[in-house]
Subunit: 85 residues, 2 copies
């Protein structure tokens, strides 16, 4: 599903992650703590979101900090608009 932002957003958990990141960047651990899922599972969801460009991440010592890629969302919004109007 790499590269398919629609597919990335089709999962409930991933949309919740996006909403979390909307307020501010979070570390992988902080994100993981919000869900009743194994850290590996959340890590997988983060990699899907990263794979299609909707989120980006940068390392800071041991932690990885994830944040939204606003421009990817704007591009997707544009694509959606073109789809129906």
């Amino acid at each position: 599903m790499n590269n398919n932002a629609w597919g990335a957003l089709s999962d409930d958990t991933r949309r919740e992650i996006v909403m979390l990141l909307r307020s501010r960047p979070h570390t992988a651990g902080e994100i993981s703590d919000q869900f009743e899922l194994a850290p590996a599972t959340v890590s997988h969801h983060l990699s899907v979101l990263k794979g299609c460009g909707l989120v980006k991440c940068e390392r800071r010592a041991q932690t990885l900090i994830y944040s939204l890629n606003q421009s990817a969302f704007r591009a997707l919004a544009k694509e959606l608009t073109k789809l129906y109007s």
Copy 2:
């Protein structure tokens, strides 16, 4: 995947169907003719799009005429905007 518009749009064929319908309503047969897929498969895709409200359909004698549900797309666009901004 019923009710999940993101999931509905995650499939290439379904996005192509949406683009077809953007110009004007089409019968199931006309839609099916545009793809190298069995009619049953296209019918399935139409039912997914219908299930999440992105398209609607009405019967006209033997044929079913599919068209976009613009308001569902607008609602989705709004949801997308809320997701990141």
